[in-house]
């Protein structure tokens, strides 16, 4: 039960320490590349940039790849490497997919093997999956340079080159080899049709005769899988993501993938400590992240793998009285009927939606890890998690700073840190300071902006969709569970996570209705647009605002460290951070959590499925 998460965690820590040092070496220019690469670096180097120039370069580059990405997706039918003749996607699907990959979210309102050609998979999905985490890494590196008071924030293009070529490319190559060895396909050949042993196993054809053929999708999966996990991308080659046997064949690939999910964000923290030359401070942050991470993992496993599925067990009759002015007494009695349990052995917890080949706790552990980081790949159906277990991935996305996405996770953490420093700093009787720089009105304005955008983009659209047909008619299950589906979708979009609770009708698919294997969901365009906007807003504001904070801190004169300075490398400060994150970050979502998972858990059976 606990061996898998423990092993994953240990293995990742062991790997993250050298990788983090390597990252620090690369971005500080201490680790030097081959001479040919250095030549490219020199060509790319447009000179030192201040925070504004850096942010502008970052945004400009994103606009450029948005345009290129749009061209690739829009021209899918005309481009090569399309053995299965995939048509053109609907405009809103293209928009949401573009926003999704641009923002490193990889929330998929399409199904990879159904809707995308190999060209789109390789030159849009895979390409974006290399570039966007590197952009997050660049932002973090620039912020670190600002925090330590460098004269300038480096050069975005050089940083991006280093991030993609020296970090993610070799890492992906290394990871892809054992993945291929464990059975992940890597081919450009089209789908294959096989004759099933059991005629009719694939249903009945249009002519009423049992279908004999099964279409098995395949493609360049291993290439995408490696970077998808390493770059906290999460967008799968297949719609079923890492539940699909070709994307996650066995326990080994599961272990490797899960560890790869955590590796880069954790290495970012090591790099942070090395670049600031303040490993103790990084260790405190590590401690806080670990406590939060461990809590979500333990919570998920306990409530999913060690508790029965509440829908299958017996419930006694319950009565409640609620006020109802329509009746004479002003009260109405609600009776929840007794429910008999199903004769199912629930020794191993809730098994619905799990891939048992990975082990019993693998689904819950992955669900926690993938939402701690902003990865978003899944190896079980999050929709099927026990209601309370489902709180773990939700909480991970609400906080969005436990390990987090490559670069951006730590940036999000720094926002909480600045708020914590501000409040706690005052309590020691000094103007708050972080790393020797005074935190004043300008920094707080930016930090609060970055902090505010996340709840706004989750709760606002959730409220909008939950109260209208847009959401209500798209829910697979009514009531609290359906509400959780909506809440999860926007949490995933806002956190740039990309995992899906599923159960929402949000896929439109091909522009040509008849080409779709199933009817387009009626409200899919609205979901596409809403999620697309949320993803873009929640990607760039929390990157630009902290960049501006770092720029403004960098320009300040450092204040010397005295006994009166609040230390940021002690356990006390760890508690400050933990308190800030829980009180300022988590509490905001308590009402939503109560209406979703908690109401579902405490409610009657059947209640919202």
């Amino acid at each position: 039960m606990w061996t898998l998460p423990l092993l994953i965690f240990l293995a990742t820590v062991v790997l993250a320490i050298p990788l983090g040092s390597y990252l620090a070496g690369i971005f500080d220019g201490r680790v030097r590349a081959l001479c040919w690469f250095r030549g490219v670096e020199r060509r790319l180097d447009t000179g030192p940039q201040n925070w504004k120039q850096y942010a502008l370069a970052l945004l400009t580059f994103n606009v450029a790849i948005f345009i290129v990405g749009f061209a690739i997706l829009a021209l899918q039918p005309l481009l090569p490497l399309n053995p299965d003749d995939k048509g053109m996607l609907s405009p809103t699907t293209i928009f949401s997919t573009l926003c999704s990959f641009l923002s490193n979210t990889n929330l998929q309102h399409y199904s990879g093997e159904v809707h995308l050609s190999y060209f789109s998979q390789l030159f849009f999905v895979c390409w974006m999956q290399f570039i966007t985490p590197a952009i997050g890494l660049c932002a973090l590196v620039a912020i670190i340079r600002g925090l330590r008071g460098d004269a300038h924030m480096g050069n975005f293009y050089v940083d991006l080159w280093r991030g993609v070529i020296y970090v993610f490319l070799p890492l992906s190559l290394i990871l892809a080899v054992p993945l291929i060895a464990s059975g992940v396909p890597m081919t450009l050949e089209g789908n294959i049709q096989v004759r099933t042993l059991d005629p009719g196993a694939m249903g009945v054809g249009a002519d009423g005769q049992p279908t004999l053929l099964q279409i098995i999708a395949r493609g360049p999966v291993a290439a995408i899988l490696a970077i998808k996990q390493l770059g906290t991308n999460g967008g799968g080659f297949f719609g079923a993501n890492c539940c699909h046997p070709f994307e996650n064949p066995n326990a080994w690939s599961n272990f490797l993938s899960c560890s790869a999910i955590l590796l880069a964000p954790m290495s970012c923290l090591v790099m942070f400590g090395k670049m600031l030359n303040n490993l103790r401070h990084a260790a405190v942050i590590f401690g806080v992240m670990f406590v939060l991470s461990a809590t979500t993992v333990v919570w998920a496993i306990y409530h999913d793998a060690m508790q029965p599925n509440p829908a299958l067990i017996a419930h006694s009759e319950r009565t409640y009285q609620i006020p109802d002015p329509a009746t004479e007494s002003g009260l109405r009695t609600i009776t929840l009927p007794a429910v008999a349990g199903l004769p199912v052995d629930q020794e191993l917890g809730n098994l619905e939606g799990k891939e048992l080949r990975f082990g019993t706790s693998a689904g819950a552990a992955w669900a926690a890890f993938t939402t701690n980081t902003s990865n978003g790949s899944v190896n079980c159906m999050h929709d099927s998690l026990n209601p309370l277990a489902g709180l773990a991935p939700l909480a991970g996305m609400w906080l969005n700073c436990i390990w987090g996405g490559v670069g951006v996770g730590l940036i999000n953490f720094l926002i909480y840190l600045v708020v914590g420093v501000f409040l706690a700093g005052l309590m020691v009787g000094r103007t708050p300071e972080y790393l020797g720089k005074k935190v004043e009105a300008r920094e707080m304005k930016l930090a609060m902006l970055a902090l505010l955008i996340h709840p706004l983009m989750i709760l606002g659209p959730t409220g909008l969709f939950a109260a209208t047909d847009w959401g209500i008619k798209s829910m697979n299950n009514p009531g609290a569970h359906g509400f959780s589906e909506v809440l999860y979708e926007f949490s995933s979009a806002s956190a740039n996570n990309g995992s899906g609770f599923e159960g929402l009708a949000d896929t439109y698919g091909f522009n040509d209705d008849s080409a779709n294997p199933s009817q387009p969901a009626p409200y899919a365009p609205l979901w596409d647009i809403a999620c697309g906007l949320v993803m873009i807003i929640c990607r760039f504001i929390p990157i630009i605002a902290p960049l501006a904070i770092a720029g403004s801190l960098a320009a300040k004169k450092p204040t010397p460290f005295t006994a009166g300075t609040m230390r940021t490398d002690t356990a006390t400060f760890g508690f400050v951070l933990l308190g800030t994150i829980l009180l300022v970050g988590a509490l905001l979502f308590l009402p939503a959590a109560v209406l979703g998972p908690i109401a579902e858990h405490l409610g009657p059976i059947p209640f919202g499925g």
């Binding site: 409640y320 329509a326 005052l426 020691v428 409220g463 959401g471 609040m566 908690i598």
Partner: protein
């Protein structure tokens, strides 16, 4: 021609005793003196005006919420059907209004206290007549001799007509009409109106005690004063404006904090606003689930209840008290007799890293005293004492006087017998024709040439040694060692010679103030470096620095050396505080981040600093730092408390919101409150009454303890963070029990 005596008009105004009493009274009056409460209550109603309330965004949101709730209450009153009981709506509205009023009251009370201070000060500013010289020439009247003054050169005008650079005459019993500098004469002045200190102080022309403040009273003698600040610009005027207007100039940290509070308000506005459609979703589903004809209505879609939730979640506690904390900080400074020229100066004081402290008066008691005569070269101690005393007769410096004192006190076997000589006798023993040699910076010695040809000199060791050598005298080989020995003990050696013969050494010693070592240790734990500034030689300075336990010292300090030291510290990012009085301190005072000028000091010093210490007490600097730290700490503590409170409020309100729609959420109501409405009312009431309960803390400030930042943080986190989590659980439950017990819900 008979000289007319100019008769000073009788001064109308409160007597010093009267003033002292009012001042003391205002100081003693507790936080909740009845007249202050009354004024504050009135003002808190006035502040409900939207254009005033707007300045406090957090409370403005509460006010808008109150109005919104009132609208719903009226609609319900007019028969608009609603499932919400009218009593509940009215109670909600009353308590929301109370929240705003409590907040306004806190600010108004702090302001009222400031105004009370200002009024006391204003009493001293009454119009007083001023006697101005029409034309002033320095040798015009001989004031010191007490000669009568020609009426023709004087005119009487109102103090309000005074301009800068006017020269006025102030006589015993008169109130000084404006700030200025004594340019002639010496007088004892009662400054109790400003400082509250009853002992009169001496103000004299030249030197560092020439500044006089308008509103103070000359007790004896008369002085000629050059006015430095015209009417309306005096020190007192600025002080009054500052105390009264404290709220209108917010400090940088206060601005940053109110920004954070506004952002939190916005965040919670998002949370509550989004809750309405979410609750609607639950209600719609429950309608289907129960098969009801009517939608199942809960409190989750009731706007007044959501307003209540919003008000409970936004940081009203700190939002209500923030202005009061700032005003109270200024007030505390004023009560400590420190006049800050801006609130920012007080705030910066909390950040100070380095304190520059004058040795004299701060670390040591007054001036150095001669404690020992060490004879040399065949002289006896008595002879040496006699020579030293002779050399010092004309020396009016405290050191010089102390040498004469020592000579007289020593039970010597000399000619004059023990303890028998008085200064007069000593002076009488000086033969006529003796010539006093004054101290100059070049010779660095002083003394007397007696008519019998004896040349007695005393001075710095190197100067005397040079003098003896130039006159072919002999220098004992042990001398340098002896000099060094004395110096290394923190004492200052002076040598005395008679012609080319060395007579011996006078030991001048500093007397350390008691308890300073502990005080510096405290400062060190606070993270402050203390630097002793002294004119002593490095060896002596080092010894005293070690004895006193300061971190560093500036020896042989000149104004330039001080300025350079401050610049050096600031270049390292440190904030420096210093205290000074003389004109030559002005550049350093201006350069320091916190420059405290002594009220007794020159006008230039007072202009340059950003605070003035009315008591002229050099140890005040430490108090200034503590007030600054207390100010910031109080803000941080109450903000943390305010935000930590939210946890309990969520647990009280959220299950109540859905009690009617999702009754199975009851287990989430861990406080097990009486009913949905009582849960919400309890939370709102707790949120309201915590404001007045915390007013005393806002005004007095969270106690600052001189421990390290870490210990301080731990302590405050426990009290205000953990306390902030726990207290509202208890408070809300208690209020709920009370409401239920009294059958109010």
């Amino acid at each position: 021609m008979p000289q007319t005596v100019y008769i000073a008009p009788y001064v109308q105004g409160p007597s010093p005793e009267e003033l002292k009493l009012t001042r003391r009274a205002s100081r003693r009056s507790g936080l909740f003196a009845p007249h202050l409460l009354k004024a504050a209550f009135k003002q808190s109603l006035v502040m409900l005006r939207p254009d005033i309330q707007w300045k406090n965004p957090v409370m403005f949101v509460v006010e808008v919420g109150t109005v919104l709730t009132a609208v719903f209450t009226v609609a319900r009153l007019l028969g608009n059907f609603s499932h919400i009981s009218l009593e509940y709506l009215i109670a909600l509205d009353v308590w929301l209004l109370a929240t705003v009023l409590f907040a306004n009251f806190a600010t108004a009370l702090a302001e009222a206290r400031g105004k009370a201070q200002a009024d006391t000060l204003r009493k001293t500013r009454r119009e007083t007549p001023a006697i101005r010289f029409r034309r002033y020439e320095s040798d015009n009247p001989r004031l010191l001799s007490g000669a009568k003054i020609d009426r023709n050169v004087l005119e009487s005008i109102a103090s309000t007509e005074l301009k800068a650079n006017d020269v006025i005459l102030v006589e015993a019993g008169q109130v000084i009409p404006g700030d200025g500098e004594v340019i002639e004469g010496v007088a004892s002045v009662d400054e109790s109106a400003i400082t509250g200190e009853s002992a009169p102080v001496i103000r004299e022309a030249g030197g560092d005690h020439s500044g006089v403040t308008g509103g103070t009273r000359v007790l004896s003698d008369r002085i000629v004063v050059r006015i430095t600040a015209g009417a309306g610009k005096s020190f007192l005027d600025r002080m009054i404006a500052l105390v009264e207007g404290a709220i209108r100039q917010r400090t940088p940290n206060e601005i940053a904090l109110s920004l954070v509070l506004s952002a939190f308000t916005l965040i919670f506005l998002i949370v509550t606003a989004a809750l309405w459609p979410m609750a609607l979703n639950a209600e719609l589903y429950m309608k289907d689930y129960l098969g009801a004809a009517e939608p199942v209505k809960g409190l989750g879609t009731d706007v007044p209840t959501l307003v209540a939730l919003l008000v409970c979640l936004i940081p009203t506690t700190i939002g209500a008290l923030l202005a009061a904390i700032g005003i109270a900080g200024m007030d505390r400074a004023l009560r400590a007799n420190i006049l800050a020229k801006s609130g920012k100066a007080v705030e910066v004081a909390g950040d100070v890293d380095t304190l520059l402290l004058d040795k004299t008066g701060t670390i040591t008691v007054g001036n150095r005293k001669a404690t020992q005569f060490i004879p040399l070269d065949g002289y006896s101690a008595a002879e040496l004492g006699q020579l030293a005393a002779l050399a010092s007769v004309a020396d009016q410096t405290p050191e010089g006087k102390s040498i004469v004192d020592l000579h007289q006190k020593l039970p010597l076997n000399g000619q004059h017998g023990p303890r028998s000589t008085s200064p007069a006798l000593l002076e009488a023993s000086i033969p006529s024709g003796a010539r006093f040699i004054e101290f100059t910076a070049q010779t660095r010695m002083s003394g007397i040439d007696l008519p019998d040809g004896r040349q007695i000199r005393k001075g710095a060791p190197d100067a005397i040694i040079r003098n003896v050598e130039q006159n072919d005298g002999l220098i004992p080989s042990r001398l340098t060692q002896q000099v060094a020995e004395v110096a290394s003990k923190g004492a200052t050696p002076l040598l005395v010679c008679e012609g080319n013969r060395l007579a011996g050494m006078i030991v001048l010693e500093d007397i350390l103030k008691p308890g300073m070592r502990d005080r510096f240790e405290r400062l060190r734990r606070m993270g402050l470096r203390t630097v002793m500034v002294t004119g002593d030689n490095p060896l002596t300075a080092k010894a005293i620095a070690e004895q006193a336990g300061v971190d560093d010292y500036i020896a042989q300090a000149t104004p330039e050396a001080k300025l350079a030291y401050i610049r050096k510290e600031q270049a390292g990012g440190k904030l420096v505080a210093m205290m000074g009085d003389g004109t030559n301190d002005a550049p350093a005072l201006a350069q320091a981040d916190v420059g405290v000028a002594m009220n007794s000091g020159t006008q230039a010093a007072k202009e340059a600093g950003n605070m003035v210490d009315l008591d002229s007490d050099p140890t005040k600097l430490i108090e200034v730092v503590e007030i600054g730290k207390q100010l910031l700490m109080t803000r941080g503590a109450l903000t943390t408390f305010s935000i930590a409170n939210d946890l309990a409020k969520y647990f009280a309100i959220v299950p109540a919101l859905f009690a009617a729609t999702l009754p199975w959420l009851k287990p989430f109501d861990i406080m097990n409150l009486h009913s949905a409405t009582s849960a919400i009312l309890s939370a709102v009431i707790f949120n309201a009454i915590i404001i007045p309960l915390l007013i005393p803390i806002a005004l007095k400030g969270v106690r600052y303890r001189p421990v390290g930042a870490d210990a301080l943080l731990r302590r405050n986190l426990l009290i205000w963070g953990l306390g902030g989590v726990i207290v509202p659980f208890a408070g809300i439950k208690l209020i709920d029990l009370l409401l239920a017990g009294l059958n109010l819900v």
